[in-house]
């Protein structure tokens, strides 16, 4: 999921790739990582979208598809849920701030992605 986050990953395919049923895969994943595969993937995609908004001139629509969202509506809604602002608002605000230092990509992707608990519908941080 980390590597293929921008692909159209569906849950059946993910479960099949590790030879588990859909329900068992979701349960095992949540027990191990404290959140559902869907939530994990969304956080990965939002983090990459944040990076592209900061570091590139690509349009919000292009970035939405770059990181694997199928609709601009879902992308914008999810982004706002997590960060409390729209993708273009985020870009505008970050463009005014201090320039960002060089951060190795793996660190950025692992440590600087939205925490699980930032999603509006789940304030427990996952493994409650």
């Amino acid at each position: 999921m980390d590597r293929l986050y921008a692909d159209a990953l569906d849950i059946e395919w993910l479960a099949g790739s590790v030879h588990l049923s859909r329900a068992h895969f979701i349960r095992s994943f949540r027990d191990t990582f404290g959140e559902t595969p869907h939530r994990y993937l969304q956080r990965r995609r939002i983090e990459r979208a944040m990076a592209l908004l900061r570091d590139t001139d690509r349009s919000v629509t292009e970035i939405c598809f770059d990181v694997g969202f199928a609709s601009l509506g879902t992308f914008s809604r999810t982004f706002r849920d997590v960060l409390g602002e729209s993708p273009s608002g985020y870009r505008r605000q970050r463009a005014q701030g201090e320039p960002r230092p060089y951060i190795p990509g793996c660190i950025e992707m692992t440590w600087d992605r939205p925490p699980s608990g930032t999603f509006g519908e789940d304030s427990t941080g996952g493994r409650a």
Binding site: R100, T110, W111
Partner: protein, 142 residues
């Protein structure tokens, strides 16, 4: 081809305390100290070696979930964290005295070895740091 190690990682439990130790006591330089969206990215380097950064990272979500963070703190505190540094000095005994006076906890006093003189300390979190004054002409025992 691969030609250098540029970054390595140490687990710390408090980044200000880590700075106090690595910068305030050992004399490292701050390389990068930046508040990002969800983390403070903090790296230090030995004086004069800015191309070799040590990242002082907190084991915490979202990178490390709470139960694993607790496990990391536990093994690091016991000295089994797997991280650590070996640094060189031009005067092991003098640096040892200086650091003892600053309250650094040593696990080994300066000792003569075939490769030089060295001693060992712990950082405030349990990571081992070894300080070696290399011998001018090291000759391994036959």
């Amino acid at each position: 081809m691969i030609n250098a190690i540029s970054h390595s990682l140490l687990w710390v439990f408090d980044q200000d305390e880590a700075l106090d130790f690595y910068v305030g006591k050992l004399g490292f330089d701050i390389h990068t100290d930046a508040q990002l969206e969800h983390m403070r990215f903090l790296t230090v380097n030995a004086p004069g070696q800015p191309d070799r950064e040590v990242m002082l990272m907190l084991p915490k979500p979202p990178a490390v979930d709470e139960s694993n963070a607790e496990a990391v703190r536990d093994i690091v505190a016991k000295g089994n964290g797997g991280g650590g540094l070996i640094v060189t000095t031009d005067d092991c005994r003098a640096d040892y005295e200086r650091l003892v006076a600053k309250g650094v906890e040593f696990t080994e006093e300066p000792t003569e070895r075939f490769y030089g003189i060295d001693c060992a300390m712990r950082d405030p979190f349990g990571n081992p740091v070894r300080m070696t004054q290399p011998a001018a002409d090291p000759s391994p025992p036959a």
